[in-house]
């Protein structure tokens, strides 16, 4: 294999190229660890050149699905293909088409950045010199040139993740799997990693990423698949999912001494659902955008409830998650930590 011959997804035909433009196909995949069911029958299609985000709390089954698709785990039932290669029968061929960057930076801390990338390149079958050249190219792209000759144990968290992602890209894989790529990173490193991922997508790479962060899915993904308890519970674009929750959200910040129960009572007729209060913040979905602020102010002042601030906004994925699962994304991740 010579890296120069590889270009991303566009003219990198998998064995089933031309038959359809699905990069990833998952049908009825199940996987249990002992009595714990990690995947309870998942179906998923990812079109070539698109980004799909698997969104869900810890323990939802996201990582298990990535491990099945990268041939690290054999599913108990169901089938899955990446670029037409079956994860079980064509595992060896499939591995040539993918890159994986995991939750932990999977790099050798005692090797330098360049040595890490050169090793991975050679394990993909490239010659030492071509692997080294490709390594240099990636170090430049990921802003690691200065650190290229230092052992990776001297790198910061953000630099390690960038090196890990670079290692996943060594063979210019047409399909990239990113398992929680920014978990534990500071906001600046997160932003720079997002920009790198967007760059890859612009070149035509198909990306499947998992995340617990709604803003990450919102920013990077064409399609979001919400996963909870080993099942896909919703799939669609960010806008489609937001539409599922219903229209605009009205948020009312009450005065510190105001009566939240009274506010819920008087605002209830404006919404199809019961308004929810968190301390002095009352939230409700409203049927109509126009006039709702004026109406809310009038109702509240008639009831003598003091208002500090008022805002209308589009639903966020947080609202989506709450509506779909009955629990908030963040809460759920705390509850099932380590599951």
């Amino acid at each position: 294999m010579h890296f120069a011959a590889h270009t991303p997804a566009t003219d990198q035909p998998g064995p089933a190229a031309g038959l359809d433009d699905a990069a990833i196909t998952v049908r009825g995949v199940r996987k249990s660890y002992g009595s714990v069911q990690a995947l309870a029958g998942v179906d998923l299609d990812v079109a070539r050149g698109t980004v799909v985000a698997l969104l869900g709390p810890n323990g939802a089954g996201k990582t298990t699905l990535v491990r099945v698709l990268t041939t690290l785990l054999v599913p108990d039932a169901g089938t899955a293909q990446v670029l037409g290669c079956d994860v079980v029968r064509d595992a060896a061929r499939l591995r040539e088409q993918i890159g994986l960057a995991g939750q932990y930076a999977a790099i050798d801390e005692n090797l330098t950045g360049l040595e890490n990338l050169t090793m991975v390149g050679r394990l993909y079958g490239a010659s030492r010199s071509s692997a080294k050249g490709r390594g240099r190219e990636l170090l430049e792209r990921f802003d690691l040139v200065e650190a290229a000759g230092r052992p990776a144990k001297t790198y910061s968290g953000g630099m390690r993740r960038r090196l890990d992602l670079a290692a996943a890209l060594v063979a210019k894989p047409p399909v990239l799997f990113l398992d929680e790529p920014t978990t534990g990173l500071d906001p600046r490193s997160r932003l720079s990693l997002w920009e790198v991922i967007e760059g890859l997508v612009a070149e035509g790479t198909t990306v499947l990423l998992t995340t617990q962060y709604l803003d990450e899915a919102d920013r990077l993904a064409d399609t979001i698949a919400v996963i909870d308890h080993g099942r896909l519970i919703a799939e669609g674009t960010s806008d489609q999912l937001k539409d599922k929750v219903g229209g605009e959200r009205l948020e009312v910040r009450l005065d510190a001494d105001a009566d939240a129960d009274a506010a819920i009572r008087v605002l209830a007729p404006m919404s199809d659902e019961t308004p929810q209060a968190q301390g002095t913040l009352v939230k409700l979905s409203v049927r109509e955008r126009s006039g709702s602020i004026v109406q809310a102010v009038r109702l509240l002042s008639e009831a003598g409830v003091g208002v500090d601030d008022l805002a209308l906004r589009r639903p966020t994925l947080d609202d989506v998650f709450l509506a779909l699962t009955g629990h908030a994304a963040e809460e759920a991740s705390d509850e099932r930590e380590g599951a």
């Binding site: 041939t71 591995r95 040539e96 999977a106 801390e109 090797l111 090793m119 991975v120 050679r122 290692a167």
Partner: protein, 254 residues
């Protein structure tokens, strides 16, 4: 097959270039063995009777065998770290030959074992050890040592993939191997032990390999110990290499 060889060499190279950058490992290969030789020679040496041989001649083959048995520790601890840091996941997602990660590890152990044997031999010669054998026998002895050490690396590879943390890899290896090396002919003549220990020591593979080394280096009676040692090396490899590779294939990475 060609991929298996080249991938194995790449992994072996990786494990060797990282070695000088992990000073605690390098110490384990150099200073620690020298310390043990000196302690045994000068602290216990005067109290242990070894008819027909000076204690330093008697001791050196024994302590080198013990050292080589522990040479695979690096493999156990290193593999366990690789599992925890996700490196094994990365390797398993690459289109590389599957046994290469383990074969490369154990191959690198041969180099580090050769290094520590050299250090021990030089130390031994400085404090009075001398070969009582032909050059051919002396070289055959080195070959046997490295073969035995290689076999033991597969035992440690299995341990490293089996246990949950590098610390437990350390203690499992220690608890399993330490008594085995002591209840053998490595440090004292077996005839000086109580009968139960003596019975165990006589069938202990460490006694067989140590006796083989004393035959090859000191001209002691062989009693088939050389072939016995070769057979043991292949038995250990035959059991633990498939176990380790099987474990690697399934390594869940937790």
């Amino acid at each position: 097959m060609r991929r298996l060889v080249s991938d194995t060499l790449i992994i072996a190279e990786r494990n060797l270039i990282r070695l000088p950058r992990a000073p605690e490992l390098l110490l384990a290969f150099t200073v620690q063995p020298i310390m043990f030789v000196l302690l045994f020679r000068y602290v216990f040496g005067g109290a242990i009777r070894t008819p027909g041989y000076s204690y330093v001649d008697f001791l050196l083959p024994g302590i080198i065998v013990q050292n080589i048995a522990f040479g695979g520790f690096v493999t156990a601890i290193g593999l366990n770290e690789d599992v925890h840091k996700g490196l094994i996941d990365r390797f398993r997602s690459l289109p590389m030959a599957r046994p290469a990660v383990l074969a490369g590890r154990t191959l690198a152990d041969i180099v580090t074992n050769a290094l520590s044997v050299t250090i021990l031999l030089v130390t031994g010669v400085i404090i009075g050890f001398a070969f009582h054998a032909s050059a051919l026998h002396a070289i055959a002895g080195l070959g046997l040592l490295l073969l035995f050490g290689y076999a033991f690396s597969w035992f440690f590879a299995f341990v490293g993939l089996l246990v949950s943390s590098p610390e437990s890899a350390n203690s499992v290896g220690f608890i399993a191997v330490f008594p085995l090396t002591f209840i053998s002919s490595a440090f004292v003549p077996v005839s000086s032990m109580p009968s139960v220990l003596r019975a165990f020591a006589n069938v202990n593979p460490f006694t067989i390999i140590v006796d083989a080394m004393r035959h090859l280096w000191l001209g002691a009676p062989a009693h088939n110990s050389v072939w016995g040692a070769v057979v043991w090396a292949f038995v250990i490899m035959g059991v633990f290499a498939p176990l380790a590779v099987g474990r690697y294939r399934r390594a869940a990475g937790s």
